[in-house]
Amino acid sequence: MIYIENLTKKYSDKTLALDDVSLGVERGEFVTIVGHSGAGKTTILKMITAEEIPSQGKVFFESTNVHDLRRGEIPKYRRKIGVVFQDNRLIPNKTAYENIAFAMEAAGRSDHEIVADVPEILKLVGLDNKLWNFPHELSGGERQRVSIARAVINQPELIIADEPTGNLDPINTFDVIGLFKKINEMGTTVILTTHNKGVVDLIGNRVVTVEKGKIIRDDKEGKYVL
């Protein structure tokens, strides 16, 4: 589904964020990318969402070369991907309901669908009593669950999660990882980054280890070796 070929990213100050990285992710997989801070995990994800442009190499989503997309085509492409961040990035002046509704509106869904689906998904992540709360009125774990709900609401083919448990306590981490596993079981491909050994063990799927911009290990069964 995702094919990264010989990807290199140099920043203008000559730091090498990615060094000749190649990686393939099949449909339905749950891939965890691990590595120290600054190893290049986030850069790989930003390449897939077309937030960053590679210095060399290519990224394919199915048969589409992501970086050949015209500016006008990028929003449509991004709707195939749900994104979750460490700091959840909810829109601060929109309620939980509106944050999710916004993603549906952006994808051109009808008002009827929005009214039906948003409470449903919030119930699924256990927030059916917090529909009309603003992000600052929610706990870290609750915010992250809203952000996951927003990522999956348009039934994307791929979920990208950048350190989704980075700010959470162990219990919330457990819940959130449980949500991702459930999403994956329903058939959505998930790519998740973390530097938390416990998370890797919890997921127990394919683990890709990145160090200094290179992939140094690619294990079929979850192992955190660094």
Partner: protein, 309 residues
């Protein structure tokens, strides 16, 4: 962008305007100041224009005819003068009317009146009053009157006693210069202030939207199209402009009453408040139009820089 998107974008714009209370308020206040300046300039230039028009109206040149000239010759000359493109109006005052006017003006002075009675004949000649479209054109008209053949009666003698252009020349010249300078300076000042207003508004909008840059990047990553992201900001900007222009229009009401009552004498009878209420519709359209454009365009320009992700 279809209808449902327009509806969603406007709604989002309204809601975010309301929820970002302080930011919206500061945008409205800054726009208020900008629009206040713009409206003052519009009002000021309209007012100075009407003062200038009034002064222009007071300037004319009079052609005094010799007492023995027949009315036909004068009317023939009036006909000729009124065909000149520079001439706005020529009015004829006959000998008798001139005498009446003279008596009227000096009705309290018995010495003049009695000495007038001593004379058998009417000592006054007929007069043509000429008004030009622009004060600078009087010189050309005066020259025309001096040309050979223009002011000669049917029997070949000159009919004009005198043209008072040369007495009035100084005043007319000064007035033309003053009017030209006022228009030029007024235009430059308006331009400078309008540019300042635009820059200040743009900066405030940029600050307001700067606080939303994270939000914009999230919208991009959720897959929202550019117009879907811009839209609500533009709607908020338009709302700020609209509210600010309403405020300006309201505030100008007491201001023009106050200023009007104090300057009516000095402005030769033009009352600012009357002017404001009589031309309210035009002023309101200009102020709101400028406010809405200023708000919308500065929001558009400000969002643009955060849309590159």
């Amino acid at each position: 962008m279809n209808w449902i998107n327009i509806k969603r974008v406007s709604k989002a714009g309204f809601i975010s305007f309301w929820r970002n209370g302080m930011t919206s308020l500061s945008a409205v206040l800054v726009m208020f100041i900008s629009l206040f300046i713009v409206t003052s300039l519009v009002l000021g230039s309209a007012l100075s224009q009407s003062i200038i028009d009034m002064l222009k109206e007071k300037v004319d040149i009079n052609v005094y005819f010799k007492t023995n000239v027949t009315e036909e010759d004068i009317l023939a000359l009036q006909e000729k003068i009124s065909t000149l493109p520079e001439v706005k109006d020529v009015s004829y005052t006959s000998k008798e009317e001139a005498l009446e006017g003279f008596k009227e003006r000096h009705k309290d002075n018995s010495l003049i009146l009695s000495s007038l009675d001593e004379l058998k004949d009417n000592p006054l000649g007929a007069v043509l009053s000429i008004k030009a479209k622009e004060p600078s054109q009087y010189e050309g008209i005066a020259k025309f009157l001096e040309e050979d053949g223009v002011s000669i009666s049917s029997d070949g003698s000159g009919i004009i006693d005198k043209v008072n252009f040369y007495q009035n020349k100084l005043v007319i010249d000064r007035l033309s210069k003053l009017i030209a300078a006022t228009e030029k300076i007024g235009f430059s000042i308006s331009l400078v202030f309008a540019i300042i207003a635009i820059i200040v508004t743009l900066n405030t909008m940029q600050l307001a939207i700067y606080t939303s840059r994270e939000e914009i990047s999230v919208m991009r990553l959720v897959g929202a199209g550019n117009w879907y992201i811009r839209g609500p900001f533009i709607v908020s900007g338009i709302m700020s402009g609209f509210l600010a222009s309403l405020l300006v229009l309201i505030v100008f009401y007491p201001i023009t009453i106050w200023v009007g009552s104090r300057t009516a004498d000095f402005l030769a009878g033009i009352n600012l408040f009357n002017y404001y209420t009589q031309n309210f519709f035009e002023i309101a359209i200009i102020t709101m139009g400028v406010g809405i454009l200023l708000g919308g365009i500065s929001a558009l320009l400000s969002v643009r820089r955060y849309l590159h992700i």
